[in-house]
Symmetry: D2
Subunit: 92 residues, 4 copies
């Protein structure tokens, strides 16, 4: 992963952690269920954005290097991993 | 939302916030991209579980009460909200 | 489910079936992988729209009636089902 | 895409089209809403499996070749596409 992606991901994840703690306070204040669910969904969207940034960087750095240089077995392993994280998102 | 659901949701969300902070440390330690993405996906699953618990409780308390007692407009509003949070999940 | 929702759902599903058969032809014509995947994703979005319409109608008809009239056990069963279809969407 | 993947995808998509037509009949027979929604969700899962198979093959054929042989611009375009189809799945 390149430095810019890592810095950006750290920044976004700290923001998500803060958001989640804010939702804890909403629950402690007995806020309306649907408002809480919408905030949870917003954090899930934010987390998807982080994953996408990391995957994008991973493809451009590690995967590109592996396809250019690594042996077949290592290359296959990396491509399997991409399919695996893609599969997660379509579990539904 | 009933007390048990709220307590359970608070507990799970605090655990998610801790998990997200752990992912920040993974990034700071320059851990492997795919391992990071898998941890992010795990937090998204945990968040879905929290939403489901809250929705379930919401249906059994607020929505049931509204359908039994509230006026038509209020009832419609609550049912619209359910469809809206369901729609979010199928945006893909 | 009300008649308008059913008619609309039938119309949309027939369109989805046609779309899926069109994707079969894309594959037979050896069209570009990513274009095929995007068309598949478009059919998934269309299917989500159908589910949302049916759920919305279900809440306004069957569920509302059950909450107003049915015994506790029947009511619980219907609310469990809502949570179950919601859970499906958050499997990821 | 390799031949085995294409043949498999065509087979699965034809089965999905048949499944969707079966859901049309369920609606015409006025079957229970939740049963219809569950069948729709089953077709969405089946479609995700097809996308995953195609993506997996795409990575191993087109993308691998592009990374080994194509110019930078073509390579970037292909990696952008992967991120784009991944992003779709995390729209929620």
């Amino acid at each position: 992963m390149d430095d810019k992606t890592r810095t950006d991901a750290i920044h976004r994840l700290k923001s998500v952690a803060g958001h989640v703690n804010g939702i804890v306070r909403m629950l402690e204040d007995d806020r309306y269920c649907i408002d809480v669910i919408k905030q949870i969904q917003a954090t899930q969207t934010a987390l998807s954005r982080v994953s996408e940034g990391i995957l994008d960087s991973h493809l451009r750095t590690c995967v590109t290097t592996a396809i250019q240089d690594a042996d077949r077995q290592e290359r296959e392993r990396m491509l399997d991993e991409i399919t695996e994280v893609f599969r997660f998102t379509g579990k539904g």
